[in-house]
């Protein structure tokens, strides 16, 4: 008799818990693929296709499916590959495919030589992030602040009037360098007023005489 009661109690428990879990699985179902979203958030969204996929989202999906390596994204650089390695628990691989670690490409922006543009709209169609404005038989131009530097517009241009140029540093984009005092050659060391700018360390030297 006791054994039957025990079985009944266990069965009841299993049913109750099973029902609760089943309900929770439906009620609290998470929409979308969470891990893909996280991977995609790390990718730089240049949509350049240098990874061999048709954009950042397809690449993220391929990484999650285990079909792609995490070091195929040159715009993200080693920094991005490291973040992906951390997130996915995979081994970090440098983007350059071995060799010297820091292989981050400098940021570029597309510039249309406007006098030569024939207004064919091919670059507008190629731009994945809608950063080129213009219309048929009208001059096109790149909105530089929106350009991700993916270079996808360069190839379709029939008159080759698109250049990729590096983005010049301005007061708004300038930032302090890592505070390692660079080793200067003997002749460079003389032009002090011209290179003290980045490295003003008067706080500690002020103390020595105070």
């Amino acid at each position: 008799m006791e054994i039957l009661i025990a079985i009944a109690v266990m069965a009841l428990g299993a049913l109750t818990l099973g029902a609760a879990l089943g309900y929770a699985a439906i009620r609290f179902k998470v929409e979308g693929d969470l891990i893909t979203g996280k991977v995609e958030a790390i990718l730089p969204q240049t949509q350049c296709g240098q990874c061999g996929f048709a954009g950042c989202k397809p690449y993220a999906e391929a990484i999650v499916r285990g079909e792609a390596e995490i070091n195929l994204c040159p715009p993200g650089g080693d920094e991005g590959a490291k973040k992906l390695a951390d997130l996915l628990g995979r081994e970090f691989k440098p983007v350059s495919g071995g060799g010297d670690g820091e292989a981050v490409k400098p940021r570029l922006t597309a510039i249309i030589r406007e006098a030569e543009c024939i207004g064919c709209t091919l670059c507008i169609q190629a731009c994945p992030v809608d950063a080129i404005v213009g219309a048929a038989r009208q001059m096109h131009t790149v909105i530089e602040t929106l350009c991700t530097g993916c270079e996808l517009c360069v190839k379709p241009c029939p008159v080759e009037c698109i250049d990729m140029v590096s983005v010049p540093e301005t007061l708004a984009t300038w930032k302090y360098a890592y505070p390692i005092i660079p080793i200067k050659s003997a002749e460079r060391a003389h032009d002090v007023p011209n290179n003290v700018g980045a490295m003003n360390d008067t706080q500690s030297s002020h103390r020595k005489v105070a």
Partner: protein, 525 residues
């Protein structure tokens, strides 16, 4: 009025070096040979030039229009001719050039006819607009546009007027308070009325007794009962906004809040004076008081036109032969300017002539010995050694978790560090990287949104086209069916007509298919 004072944690007491320059009254600096006026002198967007090469300008004339709300106008500091509008070096640690207006003075120093605004009858918004157009920015060194600080979105209680001037060497605010206390108090009153605060606290460090006396006298002469001049103990960095507010009111500003969230706004004494000049005389900001000190024969304070080259200005103080550079600001928070001839800007409160004897090259950085001295002096109650480790290792998320953003870069930690670690440099590096990463993330998010919208658009266009084709085909079929049902004339006629229609439909379909193929081909290519 006796007021209870509070204390902030930490702080240091460096040698003052104020005696050298505080004695002599403010003198007017002579007109320089050239004026180079940078168009980005304040925080926020750079002003846009509104003059061209060859234009004649008068003193106080608009030369740079404010671009957006967080920006400030720029004016000609003297009368003369615009000889260039081009990128020039400016006093900034980057050593980068920014768009500047170069003026050759005509020697007359003739003002534009000034007209004081009727600010008492203007709406607060119009007054702020006026201040923006007058180029009024924080004169204490940060250069934040003042009008942007006067937009009272919250109810304010206290106005703090900062006359602490805690950094060594600098005495320009001290002299200003001694000589122009009346104007400072009048300006503070205008700000008080704009912000509708109940109390005005003027905080001055106790090492400036003459300034305290002059300010007290001015307040009494105005008969203002809401004003009080409060003497605060001399302790660097008592002039930091957060520290001064702590000392005067006992309120500590939380990490994620601003002083206005606690009902307090703060302005420098020189800013109060600029506000007064702008509103009472209609005079835009074209000059400021600059302390010339350091490795010089005759230190002092000068009233200087904005845009004066620093080497011409420093010559007035007769720098000694071994001067090898200029520091703009104080020795704790100032910057070494990238060249001798960079111009004085609105934020240049002090120029210190550098010499190897006065500021020897920093001793080599040694490993951190975990002594904790930096944490004991940090006025923001941070743990600089933790921030240093994370910054050094480029672990910026960790540095942020340790509240790197709260660091005011006062340099107390680097000052006491026995291992000579340039801590502030590490923090500035980290902050720059964090800011850049945040900006990049924002750009990536917007690029993603645009990419997704483009894809959505392509899908929609495809769907619309398919629908249109389907509709056209259906219409054609219906038409054909209708024609078959009701023949319009003779039997033979109908047959010919139907055959024609059939041909036309086929031709149209072939044409459509061809077009579609061409389109997909060009897309694939």
């Amino acid at each position: 009025m006796l007021q209870k004072l509070f204390k902030f944690k930490g702080g240091i007491k460096p040698a003052h070096h104020k005696a050298e320059s505080q004695g002599a009254p403010i003198a007017i600096a002579p007109l320089p040979g050239r004026l180079v006026i940078p168009l980005s002198q304040s925080a926020g967007e750079a002003a846009q030039p509104v003059v061209a090469v060859g234009d004649r300008v008068l003193k106080g004339q608009f030369i740079g229009r404010a671009e957006g709300w967080l920006s400030s106008a720029v004016h000609a500091s003297t009368s003369g001719t615009v000889v260039a509008v081009e990128p020039r070096l400016m006093p900034h640690p980057s050593g980068l050039a920014t768009l500047s207006v170069v003026i050759e003075p005509d020697g007359e120093d003739r003002w534009l006819p000034l007209q004081a605004p009727d600010y008492k009858n203007m709406s607060p918004k119009a007054v702020l607009q006026y201040l923006q157009d007058a180029g009024v920015v924080g004169m204490g060194g940060a250069g934040f546009p003042s009008h942007a600080k006067m937009q009272n979105s919250t109810v304010l209680e206290d106005l703090v007027i900062n006359g602490a001037e805690c950094e060594p060497y600098i005495t320009c605010d001290d002299r200003l308070m001694r000589e122009r206390a009346g104007e400072i108090v009048a300006g503070s009153r205008v700000i008080r009325d704009l912000l509708q605060v109940k109390r005005v606290l003027i905080g001055i460090e106790d090492n400036k007794p003459e300034a305290i006396a002059a300010m007290r006298e001015a307040v009494e002469a105005m008969g203002e009962t809401t004003f009080s001049v409060v003497v605060v103990p001399t302790l660097y960095p008592a002039g930091g906004i957060k520290q001064l507010i702590r000392v005067l009111t006992g309120k500590e500003i939380p990490v994620d809040k601003r002083s206005t969230d606690l009902g307090i706004q703060c302005f420098n004494v020189a800013t109060a004076l600029s506000v007064w000049r702008a509103l009472n005389l209609g005079e835009p900001v074209v000059n400021r008081i600059v302390t010339l000190t350091g490795n010089v024969e005759q230190a002092g304070n000068w009233e200087v036109l904005i845009g004066t080259p620093m080497n011409e200005l420093l010559a007035l103080a007769r720098p000694k032969a071994d001067t090898d550079g200029i520091i703009m600001g104080g020795p704790m928070m100032g910057i070494s300017v990238p060249a001798f001839d960079v111009p004085v800007i609105k934020a240049s409160n002090c120029l210190i002539a550098r010499s190897p004897a006065l500021f020897p090259p920093p001793p080599p950085e040694m490993p951190c010995i975990r002594c904790g001295a930096c944490a004991r002096v940090c006025p923001q109650e941070l743990q600089p050694f933790e921030l240093y480790w994370w910054s050094r290792a480029r672990q910026f998320d960790k540095a942020q978790a340790y509240n790197l953003a709260s660091c005011i870069e006062c340099g107390c930690c680097a000052y006491v560090c026995p291992a000579n670690i340039p801590l502030v440099q590490y923090f500035r590096f980290s902050k720059g990287e964090i800011r850049a990463a945040a900006k990049e993330q924002k750009m990536a998010d917007s690029a993603k949104a645009r990419f997704e919208f483009k894809q959505f658009r392509a899908e929609r266009e495809k769907a619309e086209k398919a629908e249109k084709l389907a509709r056209a085909a259906a219409a054609q079929a219906a038409k054909l069916a209708a024609e078959r049902d009701t023949p319009p004339g003779g039997e033979s006629d109908t047959a010919v007509y139907a055959a024609d229609a059939k041909q036309a439909v086929i031709a149209a379909a072939v044409e459509r298919a061809r077009l579609q193929r061409a389109e997909t081909d060009s897309r694939d290519a």
